[in-house]
Symmetry: C2
Subunit: 298 residues, 2 copies
């Protein structure tokens, strides 16, 4: 079986064996933003030599992707997502069926929230957690990234989703703002002390819009160097993200980036424990969805 | 007497009569970012035909300006700022002395804060307020802008300064973010209902980093149009700015931009009264500083 996680900026394919183990994997930078609508050719190249049907998740199933799937509502479990998968056949991929997994929408809040792609990692995490003694407590999951996702898992289902624009705001401020001029052009080494100072500062009164200006004024008074300022800014933003939430005793962190260590560090500083999980939960989740769906070949 | 408010992006000159009344005024877009170090020529052109010494405030007295003045510490009154003014003579402006007004720094908070230029508007406001029955209460002043300044005036002095990066963040998100793609290219008409909804939303749990993503998800579900989204975003940011502060019963709003009406509207929604003051308080403040300093000709 072949499973594919196809996001805005990256494309990952996994060839799985009958038990869901990863037999082979391929990565490319041909995210949907890069491949300019040449979806069939891009996929055919990625999975060349691999046989069978394909299960796909991520932004490939969005308005800017190959086909647009409506979001599945919360609470959503593997059975619900598998039932909502949509098939497609394409002449460039003869003899195969492509199955697209829907994203998930949450209306736990006054304003709706959504994800596309992360839901398969969460289905994978639910499969892992199902091996542990059952609990009536919810699991709280954070998937750091350009847009970090906070997800509540309860009773084997994805119960709610909340998105924080922390990573994108960091990139905007780092690149285009007045603060950018005070920072060294290269990120350089991560400065743990400056990061901690930012996390600490995020707990002061005044709010994020005020604390951001501190990057400038600390620089003016030579209390923050251009090399340390990016780490301080990162701590400030992640600190605000975390403090805006009612932090549970344990947070499950999912992802592969260096961001994970920063979140783990900040969560520890704020008194939460952490369990980390690798990004290839996506392959595990897609495998589970394919099993639930049945009828795939490969 | 000639007074000049010279900021990063604008230049304003006023010719005052002996009582401080504005006899004549000239504006230009030759802020310090535009005039590329040609300060003497730019000023000579602006004040051509006007006689006398010149008092200057704003970023012209900063590291990127003509000369760099250290910040005067809070609490600061007209006498302290006048005493800290620094003179300069330039061959391109024969027979005149130029007097530069320092900015003001505040260490009321754990992180220092600063302003350059706004302090003269506040000296002008203090002169206005001095005509009213004296009060032991502080006056709370907001100067909206790219970086809005919140200032406390007490006992005839500038007691503290806090800067909020609200306007700059709006511009960054409006121009460079993922949210920008969901908004019409032109700002179009101000949408009061969308602005109000943003101010309202800023009071919900989740924090600014989460609320920003709502601009996207409301758009996805067709609950916010591309025309209304900029007003919603503006309400969200201004709402967060205001809620991060302990709002007093009355806020003095100073400025000339359309932003003032938005702040007045949001403050009213949050239960604060408003007194508005025009931007030419700067001329009044510079006049008062010149009087305090004495010895100017013109």
């Amino acid at each position: 079986m072949i499973v594919v996680d196809w996001g805005t900026s990256s494309l990952r394919g996994y060839r799985l064996d009958a038990d869901g183990g990863i037999r082979d994997q391929r990565r490319s930078d041909q995210g949907i933003a890069a491949c300019q609508g040449r979806f069939a050719e891009t996929l055919a190249a990625l999975i060349d030599g691999w046989d069978g049907d394909v299960v796909l998740c991520g932004m490939i199933g969005s308005r800017n992707g190959w086909i647009e799937l409506p979001y599945a509502p919360c609470p959503a479990d593997a059975a619900a997502l598998a039932a909502a998968m949509q098939p497609l056949q394409d002449p460039a991929l003869p003899g195969r069926t492509l199955w697209f997994v829907p994203g998930v929408a949450s209306d736990a809040d006054a304003v709706p929230d959504v994800m596309r792609g992360e839901e398969t990692q969460l289905i994978g995490l639910l499969a892992l957690l199902a091996r542990e003694p059952p609990t009536a407590e919810a699991h709280h999951v954070c998937l750091p990234g350009t847009h970090s996702k906070w997800v509540t898992l309860q009773d084997g289902r994805i119960a709610s989703v909340a998105t924080m624009m922390t990573g994108e705001l960091y990139a905007l401020l780092r690149t285009h703002s007045l603060l950018a001029r005070l920072m060294d052009a290269d990120d350089g080494a991560f400065d743990a002390a400056a990061f901690d100072a930012g996390v600490q500062r995020s707990g002061d009164p005044g709010g994020l819009l005020h604390h951001l200006f501190g990057v400038r004024s600390l620089g003016l008074f030579e209390r923050l160097s251009g090399a340390a300022a990016p780490s301080y800014l990162s701590g400030l933003l992640i600190g605000h993200e975390l403090r805006a939430r009612a932090l549970p005793p344990v947070v499950h962190l999912v992802g592969g980036s260096g961001l994970l260590a920063r979140y783990a560090h900040a969560l520890a500083a704020l008194g939460s424990g952490v369990r980390t999980h690798p990004e290839d939960l996506a392959a595990r989740g897609l495998y589970r969805l394919a099993q639930q769906h049945g009828g795939l070949t490969g």
